[in-house]
């Protein structure tokens, strides 16, 4: 029993996430279409959902080519890392009171560690491709991840201080009465921005900036290896959305509907937010990205932590 239940949860989570990742391609294209006054994919199947299947079949059967000049083992390893680390982070997320793979008492740190590991994927992909554009993309990704990782962690410390625990389950439980977005609005904003940068999505998609770097770190990738980067990115988007919900929007708490549905709906809301960002904002310049991170977000996160700490002290 003790073994079977976590395994079932793992299976459920894996199934849901991998389907979600492919479904997100459709969601993103449809939403982008909606916001650009067009339809997006709507020909195959109801509402164009068949496009998901078509995309999957296409990407599975594409030629999976490894360039002869690439560093082969690393080249193959890189796309696996991003999916693995993104999936590993879901281990600590409480989807509902019952559905939780493991309740680590250092859950927040585990997630931060895993998302930091994700940088190896892009950096190694850029390096092993042996292509200057890929390398530039990989370099950008590492610099970006390093800078944004710092205040991503700091922005969560306010929440941790309020809860008094690093466990995500405890954090969700602590939000039963009041969501942390009310008490930690700056923390939420900083975390959301860091999250966007962490998944290198528009407006922080410098590692793959197609107007400058061909396709950035995955220029040399094709077939399912490229698909893995894609899946990794979408799982990353789901992960950041799920974490925003967990940390700031009360996780699975909500009236009437079952907890799992609440969690899903909230997560979907933030995923749509990611797409809205992509639909409306242009890409930052690289120095802007760095200046924004170090000169604005980091002090803001520190200030938020300091004020939160002071208020907690004063309260007690």
């Amino acid at each position: 029993m003790t073994i079977v239940q976590p395994l079932l949860v793992v299976g459920f989570v894996l199934f849901a996430l991998l389907n979600m990742a492919s479904l997100l391609i459709w969601i993103e294209r449809r939403l982008l279409g909606l916001w650009q006054d067009r339809y997006g994919p709507n020909r195959v199947g109801p509402l164009g959902l068949g496009h998901v299947v078509a995309d999957m079949i296409k990407i599975f059967f594409k030629e999976d080519w490894t360039p002869p000049f690439a560093d082969k083992p690393v080249f193959i390893l890189a796309p696996a890392i991003i999916v693995m680390t993104a999936l590993m982070s879901f281990v600590v997320i409480p989807f509902s009171p019952a559905i939780l793979v493991i309740d680590l008492n250092v859950g927040v740190l585990f997630f931060l560690a895993m998302s930091s590991m994700g940088v190896y994927s892009v950096a190694l992909a850029g390096w092993s491709s042996n292509n200057k554009y890929s390398l530039l993309g990989g370099l950008r990704a590492s610099a970006q991840m390093l800078s944004y990782e710092v205040f991503m962690g700091l922005s969560l410390m306010g929440v941790v201080a309020l809860t008094g625990s690093f466990s995500l389950k405890a954090i969700v439980d602590a939000q039963e009465g009041l969501w942390f977005v009310v008490t930690q609005p700056i923390g939420f904003i900083v975390f959301a921005i860091a999250g966007v940068a962490e998944t290198h999505r528009v407006p922080f998609d410098l590692p793959e900036a197609e107007s400058e770097l061909v396709a950035g770190f995955h220029s040399e990738y094709s077939g399912m290896k490229f698909g893995m980067f894609f899946v990794g990115e979408y799982i990353g988007v789901t992960l950041i959305s799920a974490l925003i919900v967990t940390f700031f929007f009360g996780g699975w708490h909500g009236p009437l509907l079952p907890p799992l549905l609440w969690f899903f709906l909230k997560t979907l809301f933030f995923i749509c937010g990611f797409v809205l960002l992509r639909a409306s904002l242009p890409r930052l310049r690289y120095d802007q990205l760095m200046a924004f991170g170090w000169k604005l977000m980091l002090p803001l996160a520190l200030l938020n932590l300091m004020v939160t700490g002071a208020l907690i002290l004063a309260w007690n």
């Binding site: 006054d37 809205l276 409306s280 904002l281």
Partner: protein, 185 residues
């Protein structure tokens, strides 16, 4: 201090502009979509749409084209080829008339040049072919059984050209030919 205030204001302006552009994009959720879903939903073509070229007939059902080559000359891409000939009644007509639609740019110059309203452009653009050779239309592909845009017009009825069964001066609004000798003093 002033510098700090200025940078805070600058940040505020930037943040506002970002949020505003996101808001504008979000508003498009309720905007009408501009896509015309073509095969299901047909675009409305104007009557003067310059599409597939046809050769029309006059109200009597005869070919209007008199094989004057003006269309072929006017054509900027040289996609029209024809050979004029004459029938037993003295009417000129094209022996063959060929339009290569893989070259045609649908500029309508041929229609403008045509003195007999024979060649006309129609509101039809669905001419895709799998075989490039099929885009070369011969006369039997071009000729239609109608008058096109000019229902009443018949070139030989208004032109002072003698053909069989119609001598000079018998056309509509045409005065009989002047006997030049009667003009002598």
């Amino acid at each position: 201090m002033i510098k700090l205030i200025a940078s805070v204001l600058d940040f505020g302006e930037g943040a506002y502009s970002l949020l505003r552009s996101m808001g504008i994009v979000l508003k498009h959720t309720f905007a009408k979509r501009v896509t015309v879903q073509y095969p299901d939903e047909r675009p409305k073509l104007a009557p003067r749409w310059r599409g597939r070229i046809v050769l029309t007939r006059d109200p009597d059902g005869e070919e209007r084209c008199v094989g004057c080559y003006l269309c072929a000359v006017a054509c900027p891409v040289d996609c029209i080829a024809l050979q004029a000939t004459e029938d037993e009644h003295g009417r000129r007509y094209p022996e063959f008339f060929r339009i290569n639609f893989s070259r045609c740019i649908f500029c309508g110059y041929c229609e403008e040049a045509c003195p007999t309203y024979a060649i006309q452009l129609t509101p039809d653009f669905e001419m895709s072919e799998y075989n490039r050779q099929n885009l070369v239309y011969e006369k039997e592909n071009l000729l239609i059984n109608g008058t096109g845009k000019y229902p009443g017009y018949n070139f030989y009825r208004v032109a002072g050209l003698a053909i069989e069964n119609k001598a000079k001066g018998e056309a509509e609004n045409e005065a009989p030919p002047v006997d030049v000798r009667s003009l002598l003093p």
